[in-house]
């Protein structure tokens, strides 16, 4: 799943329109739009709102190792050499108020420029202000801190599109959507590539094997230490032969009357597995 979060509806609109996202009316507190592959939440402006919305979104279900969270939005800069509309992937996030810095892992190749972003609690209108970050926004530090409770640092991305040189008076809602419109498809096609690269093909015991294992643990009256040892032994066997069904089958009908008897069977099983 690709989780998108934007502060404002106008930032979300190009994605809603281009990817046919449908409003999920089961959510009352936030506006959430969905397709099979994308879930988009509008967080509201500010790092606290961003953190709350992302926590709400990610704690609503399970997250997987291939899931990505992308914060997309417009930002300002006082560097007038950067053309308006330039898209950046942020490699450093500075929280202006606490002066703490956060670093999303940039493990994947990407088509964007990179920059640092400084998150402020209030709108920055003074372009003579001394800034630590290349860019200025109002959500990134909150979203980073909340999202990394659920995801690893390489699954979280901050994509910022420069909309102004810290004069915000001329920015219309339409111009915000327009700044993002051209970027929606490149951002999503890159995200899908990363997501498929992370798809987890991790092999593990089948449900049947797990059930059999639980039954054998019960049958042999194993202690929790012995259960842990058995799991480790079975894993070692399973990695070599691809199944543990046959070997567990031999212990499915044994019902030990005592722990001593169980220990005897456990030792025998141990020898078979090494």
């Amino acid at each position: 799943m690709i989780f998108l979060c934007t502060a404002m509806y106008n930032e979300a609109y190009p994605f809603i329109k281009q990817f046919n996202l449908r409003k999920d009316t089961s959510h009352q507190k936030f506006q959430v739009f969905k397709s099979e592959e994308i879930t988009l939440i509008i967080t509201g402006v500010g790092k606290l709102k961003g953190a709350i919305a992302v926590t709400y979104l990610l704690s609503n279900g399970t997250v997987n190792a291939s899931d990505l969270l992308i914060n997309i939005g417009v930002c300002g800069t006082n560097n007038t050499n950067i053309p308006l509309g330039t898209t950046f992937l942020c490699n450093k996030i500075i929280d202006h108020e606490t002066q703490r810095a956060f670093y999303p892992d940039i493990l994947f190749t990407h088509p964007f420029k990179e920059a640092s972003v400084e998150t402020f609690s209030t709108l920055v209108k003074d372009n003579n202000m001394d800034l630590e970050g290349d860019l200025v926004d109002m959500e990134a530090s909150g979203i980073y801190q909340s999202s990394t409770l659920f995801l690893k640092a390489h699954q979280v991305f901050f994509i910022k599109i420069v909309s102004d040189y810290l004069y915000t008076d001329n920015i219309s809602k339409d111009s915000i959507s327009k700044s993002i419109e051209d970027q929606a498809i490149p951002i999503l096609s890159w995200s899908h590539k990363v997501e498929s690269g992370l798809l987890n093909n991790k092999k593990e015991f089948t449900e049947k094997e797990k059930e059999m294992l639980n039954q054998v643990v019960k049958n042999l009256k194993l202690s929790s230490t012995m259960e842990h040892q058995l799991k480790q032994l079975l894993k070692f066997y399973w990695l070599q032969y691809g199944t543990v069904e046959e070997i567990l089958k031999q212990y499915m009908d044994i019902e030990c009357q005592s722990k001593k008897e169980g220990k005897k069977h456990f030792e025998e099983l141990r020898q078979k597995l090494i």
Binding site: A101, D105, I106, T109, K152, K202, E204, Q229, K235, F236
Partner: protein, 336 residues
């Protein structure tokens, strides 16, 4: 899959994170010359990035980043009990680098660190200062390449060379530089030192191919070893860690035979032999990182917090390798 990885992941050291205080250190400038295309990101403290909790060691290994920092404390550590001290009473090690450019499946570093990024402490002169303080009290046996592989990164940092210059000035200091690299050429112009041992981990090729990802093949390591011996260096061979894999007898026997067909056994300074062993806590984390590793899934036995093969298997492996080695090298030179 490898091609897919190549296009998906950024190249190694695509990003260099530098502590603000390390930015103007001469070693920083020297190192940065090798990474002219890298993104440079200023950081306050290396732990802000290296010690984060929500990192994925395995994926970071596919695109490791470089962190340049100043080491401020723990400049020297006492040698760990699991490590061979070769009879030296004052056994220490130091980390001028953390992590390694190689990717060995059995590496304990993946259990020790939460990050696969490589840290280089640029203020090596302060570590020298600390060693000098200790040398005033007693002689020291110092391992400088334990939590890393300094020689593998020599072309970038040149720390092997710096340690050699330091060792030359301190005769009561004995240094071991351990490596899996085939990079002796990077230091071959340096005159051999009496108080410096170049130690190579030597493994059979089937193990190198399967478990020592990105490391040079046996043949190439042996070319480097031969170069060092010919030049007059003290060379230690480490048949360590021995791995209990299928046909281990065949693989290790062939490796020993091949090794001594390529290098003059009588020139070898000494040899250490040891089976795979690791702290039980590290093993737990290593298994989590590499859930599908047959090597790490082996039902090791744990004694005094150290996980390894059971006593019988350990003895069997050590005895065999010892006997095969003793066919070429006198027993006094073999440490087990």
């Amino acid at each position: 899959m490898k091609n897919l990885d190549k296009s998906l992941y950024s190249p190694s050291f695509s990003h260099v994170y530098i502590e603000k205080q390390a930015m103007n250190h001469p070693n920083t400038k020297k190192i940065l010359n090798h990474f002219s295309n890298a993104q440079i990101i200023e950081i306050n403290h290396y732990k802000d990035i290296f010690s984060r909790s929500h990192q994925h060691y395995g994926l970071q290994k596919k695109s490791p980043k470089l962190i340049l920092a100043l080491k401020k404390d723990h400049l020297i550590y006492k040698g760990a009990e699991v490590c061979e001290d070769f009879g030296h009473p004052y056994f220490y090690y130091t980390s001028t680098m953390m992590n390694c450019i190689y990717d060995c499946e059995y590496c304990y570093l993946q259990g020790m660190y939460t990050s696969a990024n490589v840290v280089v402490f640029v203020n090596i002169e302060e570590i020298f200062g600390e060693v000098e303080k200790l040398l005033k009290k007693h002689p020291i046996y110092l391992c400088i390449s334990y939590d890393t592989d300094i020689l593998a990164f020599e072309n970038v940092i040149g720390y092997g060379r710096e340690w050699m210059a330091f060792a030359q000035k301190h005769q009561n200091l004995t240094i071991e530089l351990r490596t899996k690299s085939a990079n002796f050429k990077a230091i071959q112009d340096i005159e051999p030192l009496e108080n410096m041992i170049l130690a190579w981990t030597v493994s059979p090729d089937p193990i190198i191919k399967k478990y020592e990802n990105k490391t040079p093949f046996l043949k190439d390591r042996l070319i480097s070893i031969k170069g060092a011996l010919d030049r007059g260096w003290k060379v230690r061979l480490c048949f360590d860690p021995l791995l209990s894999i299928e046909e281990w007898q065949k693989h290790y026997k062939e490796m020993i035979k091949y090794t001594f067909s390529q290098v003059a056994a009588e020139k070898i300074y000494d040899i250490s032999i040891g089976v795979f062993r690791v702290s039980k806590d590290y093993l737990k984390r290593m298994r989590k990182q590499r859930g599908e590793s047959l090597l790490l899934s082996y039902p090791f036995e744990t004694q005094n917090g150290i996980s390894s093969y059971d006593v019988q298997q350990t003895q069997k492996m050590i005895n065999h390798v010892y006997q095969w080695t003793a066919n070429y090298v006198s027993k006094e030179k073999i440490y087990i």
